[in-house]
Subunit: 345 residues, 2 copies
DNA sequence: CTGAAAGCGCTTACAG
DNA sequence: CTGAAAGCGCTTACAG
């Protein structure tokens, strides 16, 4: 084993603004002004400062600056599982927008491995200038505290509890779902449509279920609770749920899977039971994940403008941080993407 | 438009350690000791301090602590494009491990929108305790500077330039590729195998190409430069590249696509030209992305232990940060995943 | 255009 | 077990 030891790592002394000041023969205030262009300084002085900084390979210390200015130039993102690929495009947008606006992104993912304590340490009101909250289970007390001190927070896909007036950004879950269900009813003449729910308490899922019921009632189809099961937005769970439905000999002619991940599990279960999609059963998803067009049959689904959600959330957060007016609720429109799994083509 | 204005955001005064000290009737040093359990304090004092903290809803200020301790408890990650879903599982592992070790994760993605200046601001030696570098194009000068001051840096899938002895973590690109090519040769009797390169300068791709050549020479198949094209690890680019190959009437019986994203483009191009995969042309990828098993035909590919790369990189970085010995080079083993697109089954 | 000094909110020897 | 004081590396009125 070849090993490397870091030489004098702890004893390393970085040059500070004082070292630069000494070398350039000016005061630290002048260095600070040069760094921030916060006041005019004479060209000759500027030259000397510049040279001193280069000679010393000086890099300003952001932490010290943060403490002095009481700003962090950092946006915090609290998200459920950074490992779910569905969120990735949203992450990209958030990162890009934050960066463009001069903010860094501090990400904290609420995986089972991450304790609430670690979150408390990571994302307080002190080391970010604002918080993007994208999780189902948030601590009301903490939110109330953040609201009380006027800390900028934007909620994503989640209505604020107890009327706390944080801006929220979401998508048109209900409309999107009801239109998809109506497509199944009117175009494909489906009547017994399974609805697979997401994780318990998930607001997206609840809204989608409302859309489902709305579409049924619009077409005078009675709601049948036996047609509702739980897929948890998870391939394996959705597979199991579908299996159970089949074992119970439940009769149905379509499945709204809740999300695209679930659709994969649902299709697998149907195929392994000898059923043909879409001939025997129409299958539709929600999200339009990258793989939706790649699977066979290609998946009819609802396109979720997740990038736009990311952008809009950052926009609102920047408004809050800057003390500008913000939008209480933004619901981004969705779009049906009709492919083969519903029966079209 | 309903608008919310944040009340007295800027004027808000957070309680500090001094306020707590005053309220509890002790010194700030005692509060600090309570906070960090850095020295024994009497039970009665502890009670008073605890109560004072709760009454004031005091939250310690990490920035101030960082400045005083000269540690940030933050790990920086420099990555090419946070939006590529292939990286997501790796991100999850990095975040989880960092968090478990008590570190936050500061992510900076080098999208076209992010200037080098913003990176310079975001991830200096001052606001992280160590850096994970996962990009092709890194600034040698900056790396040299970081090495000179003994700053902890671990390189991912990239050999350090100029013999700078940063630890690196990578995967067995060459072995994985050569074994896959040999599978095509020995099991499916393929002889004219296209090799699609990744982006210019990409080290993974270069190593894979070496594996490709090695396998050919092991089986006495002469290397034909006409069989090498560039897919850039991108679906559309790979589609175009395949199109061109077909237009040139190049004869081939297999394609190593470079990565899985490219495989999707390659298959589309082949299908639209009326060719059957795998009967006419074997197609194999690299990565084993989530969709590899979902497409038709299912994709034979090389499984890239990307999560393990993330874990290993954090492990090495923690070693550096703690001043412990570290591994100069770690190459994680890969595994062939044989599905249908090569011609098996 | 420039400098001296106080302050941001903590930690940490040092002394007791 | 506890306190007074210096210090972390910056910024920012204030004065000139």
């Amino acid at each position: 084993m070849i090993s490397i030891s870091q030489p004098e790592m702890k004893t390393q002394k970085y040059p500070t603004i004082r070292d630069v000041a000494r070398r350039a023969g000016v005061s630290v205030a002048t260095i600070s002004r040069f760094l921030n262009a916060s006041a005019p300084i004479s060209p000759e002085t500027a030259m000397r400062v510049k040279q001193a900084m280069e000679e010393l390979k000086f890099t300003p210390h952001p932490i010290a600056r943060n403490l002095a200015t009481r700003r962090t130039n950092t946006i915090g993102l609290l998200m459920p599982d950074i490992g779910r690929s569905f969120y990735t495009p949203m992450l990209r947008e958030i990162e890009a927008m934050a960066s463009t606006a001069g903010y860094d992104l501090l990400i904290h993912s609420t995986s089972p491995m991450n304790s609430p304590q670690s979150r408390r340490r990571a994302l307080t009101e002190h080391n970010t200038d604002g918080l993007l909250v994208f999780i189902d289970a948030l601590d009301s007390d903490e939110l109330r505290h953040l609201r009380a001190i006027g800390f900028p927070v934007v909620l994503m896909n989640k209505t604020p509890p107890d009327g706390l007036d944080f801006p929220m950004v979401t998508i048109e879950n209900q409309t999107g779902t009801s239109r998809m269900i109506e497509h199944l009813i009117t175009v494909h003449n489906r009547k017994r449509i399974i609805f697979l729910q997401g994780p318990v308490g998930n607001e997206d899922s609840r809204e989608r279920e409302q859309g489902y019921r709305l579409a049924l009632s619009n077409h005078h189809i009675p709601f049948d609770p036996n047609l509702v099961a739980r897929g948890c937005f998870d391939t394996q769970r959705a597979f199991d749920a579908t299996r159970q439905l089949l074992e119970k000999n439940m009769s149905f002619d379509a499945i709204f899977t809740g999300d695209d991940d679930s659709a994969v599990g649902v299709m697998d279960a149907l195929k392994s039971a000898g059923l043909d999609v879409p001939r025997d059963v129409s299958v539709v998803g929600f999200d339009d994940s990258v793989f939706a067009r790649l699977i066979t049959p290609s998946l009819t689904t609802v396109q979720s403008p997740i990038e736009q959600v990311g952008r809009e959330a950052v926009t609102q957060l920047l408004h809050l941080i800057r003390g500008e007016a913000s939008q209480a609720r933004t619901a981004l429109p969705v779009k049906l993407v009709i492919r083969e799994s519903c029966g079209c083509r």
